[in-house]
Symmetry: C2
């Protein structure tokens, strides 16, 4: 099927590439790489985005071919949905996709619904970027340094820098080929993994200030109050990953972050490192998740009381 897609793209004149809404490193990197490769092969290409590209990806080559979709309603020979599990992930750009003469869906999510004329879903790929790399091979496109930067960004983003369990032997083979193009991996890695907003750094400080190590350091608990959120100037999404500060402390088995929301709810994030099943705790409070990562919300709760209940539950599981 990827070969059919390669042939269809070779025959097309103008092509729209559509990454998913709230595009991440893989969606943006894959889209720009494909755009660079196809425009190098003489195609007219547009990358239509739902939102502005996040600042952190502002260094990517090919951004001159990308823009936020303004409802102009152009008509394309081919529209490619990239890294989208279903058609709703196209947001306001769904009509552009549906109006195209040929629709293509290239993705790696197990949940992909197969919504195009030509669907290619490879769940064994860690990133959509891996599929684009192989598509280039089928089309006889040799990615230059610019496309290599985009593909490397796509792959390193979706594998957490080759650290997640989705990383395969093939992922490293592709990285090896991309490095031959002379890309600066130290620079790309620093931009993608090491850049933090001032608000998030201050929030990290607030979280550490609240850190309690209990039960001989096996339980780590952090509490973020409304005031702490306000003091830090952090945005809501800056709370992502803060729980890992507690989880990563040596000796910790169960980690919890209690967050007081503006509406009075208490949001609880739970993590474990080896044997504690935090999803069991979460489901007791109508929450959910996995064995090592779960969460729940207590409506209109009291921070101190939630803390006590939770500690009792966690102590019982050590």
């Amino acid at each position: 099927m990827l070969k059919k897609i390669a042939e269809a793209l070779a025959d097309a004149g103008n092509i729209a590439i559509l990454p998913h809404i709230a595009a991440d490193g893989d969606a943006i990197g894959s889209s720009l790489a494909l755009a660079l490769g196809l425009s190098g092969a003489g195609k007219e290409v547009s990358v239509l985005l739902e939102e502005q590209v996040p600042q952190i990806y502002g260094f990517l080559p090919g951004l001159e071919m990308a823009g936020v979709y303004g409802g102009d309603g152009g008509k394309y020979d081919i529209a490619v949905a990239l890294d989208c599990g279903d058609i709703e992930r196209l947001g306001s750009r769904k009509p552009v996709f549906e109006k195209a003469a040929v629709t293509v869906n290239i993705d790696h999510h197990t949940t992909n619904t197969g919504f195009a004329m030509l669907d290619y879903v490879d769940t064994g790929c860690a990133a959509a970027g891996e599929i684009i790399y192989r598509l280039f091979g089928l089309m006889g496109i040799d990615p230059g340094k610019d496309a290599a930067i985009c593909l490397y960004t796509a792959i390193t983003s979706d594998t957490g820098g080759f650290r997640y369990s989705n990383t395969t032997s093939a992922t490293h083979i592709i990285a090896s080929e991309l490095l031959k193009k002379g890309i600066d991996v130290a620079d790309i890695s620093r931009r993608i993994f090491d850049t933090v907003s001032p608000g998030k750094v201050r929030l990290m400080g607030e979280a550490v200030n609240s850190l309690e190590l209990l039960e001989n350091g096996r339980i780590a608990l952090m509490t973020v109050s409304c005031e702490a959120m306000r003091r830090s100037g952090a945005a809501d999404e800056d709370t992502d990953g803060i729980i890992n500060i507690a989880r990563n402390i040596s000796g910790v088995e169960a980690a919890a972050m209690l967050r007081e929301m503006e509406n009075g709810d208490i949001k609880v994030n739970l993590r474990s490192n080896s044997y504690v099943d935090v999803s069991a705790v979460a489901s007791k409070y109508s929450g959910g998740g996995h064995i090592k990562a779960a969460g729940f919300t207590v409506r209109g709760g009291d921070l101190g009381k939630v803390r006590e209940m939770l500690l009792e539950d966690l102590r019982g599981m050590l």
Copy 2:
């Protein structure tokens, strides 16, 4: 020369492997991998260490062949110095090396002095682990899963998880082969990169609490007093990398960490992100370093005064 080393090892009966003092992930991982490979080929192998293996590497296979050298003075057919730039890096184990019938030096440091009968130094390798992988190839040793875990640890440690500029196309090829052995990259990566001591986490909190963002967020300054160090319970080595909290804040060009030492000195760490030459600032105070990473010490300084001087210097360079 690596072929000669392979032949010498094939001929030997008992072999000592000596990683450098204060062994890191590459030194320990390479040594244990070599020990596993050679003992699998029927050799009697000992890994002689200068110190206990750091707890973080306690998961590595092959540790049963390793032990802290107790001055017993065994005699070996071959002694292999691994990842050692010069013979002094062997510490108290220098006599063991010198007494061996054949001495081997396998390393990747540009500064290597070539101190053995058989020296193999490949400065193009990101890690000594890459050389051991190739040595296995020459010896016809197929690394099993255990040796693959050790080699992956060696390589990912010395490349910061494939992120440093020493990472090459060949590094990824080797990683690709190691992944075929069924190693758990998520687990290894978490153990190596995500484990932090309680003291270091508290020190991060102290550093963030002191954070000042100046000149429209282009200068980030952190101050760690003696009291803050004591409160955190952090060890001296826990200060490593703390400066990156400031450097990684989006918009920051120059970052500084001022640390008050117990003897009254002020130790200053400097980093820049693109154009500021912090080594110029450091050399003004008899310090040194590189354009983007430098430092200096003010003997018996006053935190407030050093802060003022430094800020004036940094402002002048923006």
